[in-house]
């Protein structure tokens, strides 16, 4: 299915002696590592059209994380804007580097049914040889952009109340211990959910349910912010939220369309569905907003768009555009009402990652099992409406397994980080805002009363 690759035996690595040795050492560490390394050998060639599409798709998915920073950053108060945005941006660094070093190999190395191996650690054997019709390393980078944004998605649950160092440690571990195995389950030909024929075109389970479960667990482990339920956290910049939604939608074209790994009919189906499903969600969300909030809200519109994008993610390459619109329309309901409930509950999943991504991904994955048709994608499965009710069950199993694994492992990782380094900052951090406390910066500094510290002697007597 999508994201599955057939690799030619990879060419000789660069500086092979050094990296080979490190890889060998790493392999010894991997408990679950399987000895086998047997990709189907196959003659293939790079296609210019497919490569062009995957090059830009990689860039598009990369841009999504910046879009997410704005979607999230606009929703928080101005004293936490940088902390919120940095939780996305820092994933570019740590999640990105770790993906290249080991994550990719853990996800897409042959390994066993549950996890890959270290055969491609340090990008060993990941060269420009064809993987399908595109260069292997491009596939690796494309998948890396997915790993980055999935980690960043979780941050919406823990706004304004987590030590930044602890957060960086957390997502670094999470990417290797949670994301990589789950990607392996679903997208590697040897993965157990792949074997079950679970359908997940672009990551409804791997990305969204995974991040949603992680977010729920993180919100529970960290607990609510001190003034949660007493003080409203209003979005300090709704245009940023709309900008984020716009950039996310734009990037999602590469996320869903690129998951065809080629510039073909499937990519077109992915892009078309990614255009119309969120459009349908937006219409339904607006009507729900009129009923329950008395107005069509801008924050609601942005949220509805994201929910629609999430819901169509697992389905994008398996269902027709009309079905995609149905999925988008239906998916509005559970997410809308869970957000309403959450806002009144004690659960401080601050930016509703669970409701938008967890629930949206769940709805989309199940509905993929309803609307999928092999008439459009022979590599897929027929769904309930096309005579295969079993697929709904398979989708349940896939989503459920990812949810449980991600939820439990996220909690475990956080508890470990908590034991070692603590998770929450001193109590007045929340009051003063994380920007100044965790980053030593303000989002919007005026410079009023800012005294340059130039030399030691100035420290003592300038303006105080």
């Amino acid at each position: 299915m999508a994201h599955t690759i057939r690799l030619g035996r990879a060419g000789a690595g660069l500086m092979p002696l050094l990296s080979g040795a490190i890889r060998l050492a790493l392999s010894g560490l991997l408990l679950l590592a399987t000895p086998g390394f047997a990709f189907a050998q196959e003659a293939a060639a790079i296609s210019g059209g497919d490569t062009a599409w995957m090059l830009i798709s990689t860039a598009l998915v990369l841009l999504m994380t910046a879009g997410l920073a704005f979607f999230y950053g606009g929703l928080v108060s101005s004293k936490n804007v940088l902390n919120t945005m940095m939780m996305s941006f820092i994933a570019f660094g740590f999640s990105g580097v770790l993906w290249a070093l080991v994550g990719y190999s853990l996800a897409f190395g042959a390994g066993n049914a549950f996890v890959g191996d270290f055969s491609m650690a340090l990008l060993g054997g990941v060269g420009t040889e064809p993987s399908g019709t595109i260069p292997h390393m491009l596939f690796m980078a494309y998948q890396g952009a997915f790993a980055i944004i999935t980690a960043a998605l979780i941050s919406g649950a823990i706004i304004g109340r987590m030590k930044f160092g602890a957060y960086v440690t957390f997502i670094s571990i999470w990417g290797l211990v949670v994301y990589a195995p789950v990607a392996h389950w679903v997208w590697n030909t040897g993965g157990w959910l792949f074997g079950l024929s679970a359908l997940d075109f672009a990551g409804g389970a791997v990305v969204h349910v995974n991040a949603g479960a992680g977010a729920l667990a993180a919100a529970l482990v960290l607990g609510p912010r001190t003034d949660y339920g007493r003080q409203a956290m209003l979005p300090h910049n709704v245009p940023f939220v709309l900008l984020g939604a716009g950039l996310l939608w734009f990037g999602w074209m590469g996320f869903n369309g690129g998951s065809a790994l080629a510039a073909n009919e499937l990519a077109a189906l992915g892009v078309v569905n990614t255009l119309f499903a969120p459009a349908a969600t937006l219409v339904v969300w607006s009507l729900l907003d009129v009923m329950f909030a008395k107005h069509i809200t801008a924050v609601g519109a942005a949220t509805g768009i994201v929910v629609g994008l999430v819901a169509v993610t697992p389905a994008a390459g398996f269902v027709s555009p009309m079905s995609a619109m149905a999925i988008g329309a239906i998916a509005a309901f559970p997410s809308y009402f869970i957000i309403r409930w959450r806002a009144r509950s004690g659960l401080d999943d601050s930016l509703d990652v669970f409701a938008a991504h967890g629930v949206g991904g769940f709805t989309g994955a199940i509905l993929t099992g309803v609307f999928a048709t092999t008439a459009l994608n022979a590599a897929g499965q027929d769904g309930l409406l096309y005579g295969n009710p079993r697929q709904v069950l398979i989708q349940f199993i896939a989503v459920g397994a990812v949810f449980v694994y991600s939820g439990v492992m996220t909690a475990v990782i956080l508890k470990v980080v908590q034991a070692v380094a603590g998770l929450r900052p001193e109590s007045d951090a929340e009051r003063r805002g994380m920007d100044v406390l965790a980053h030593g910066e303000e989002g919007y500094a005026t410079g009023d009363g800012a005294v340059l510290i130039l030399h030691e002697e100035l420290n003592g007597n300038a303006a105080k």
Binding site: A232, L234, F292, A293, T297, I339, A343, R344, D352
Partner: protein, 117 residues
């Protein structure tokens, strides 16, 4: 010398400035504030969370005037800022002990008498 402190609606600011100009009041200082009074409170909803906005955008105009100008200035503001609906605002008149013009170190009445620009 008095300090007139008028809290008005933002959308009336330009009208009030004009009226003060016509009342020959030349110097003043304006700031954006938020007020709470008898106005009905707007309810806003953000992602299912409803909030009542207890504060309403207002503008404060502060004018240092010598006694003979107090009444004229107050009247000008009153007339220009009135809409007749709740929320039109208040005018406070505070006593001033001294006024200094920073540029010239002039004091009191001389300090607020405009100089040809």
């Amino acid at each position: 010398m008095k300090l007139i402190k008028a809290i008005i609606r933002p959308e009336k600011l330009n009208d009030v400035l004009k009226a003060l100009y016509q009342a020959e009041v030349r110097g003043l200082t304006v700031s954006r504030v938020q007020g709470h009074g008898g106005e009905t409170e707007a309810v806003e909803t953000y992602r299912g969370m409803s909030v009542k906005m207890a504060l309403v955008e207002k503008v404060v105009i502060e004018i240092g005037v010598s006694e003979p100008f107090v009444d004229a200035a107050v009247k000008a503001v009153m007339n220009a800022a009135r809409t007749g609906e709740v929320g039109d605002g208040k005018i406070f008149v505070l006593p001033i002990d001294a006024v200094h013009r920073i540029r010239t170190a002039e004091k009191d009445v001389a300090a607020v008498t405009p100089v040809a620009s």
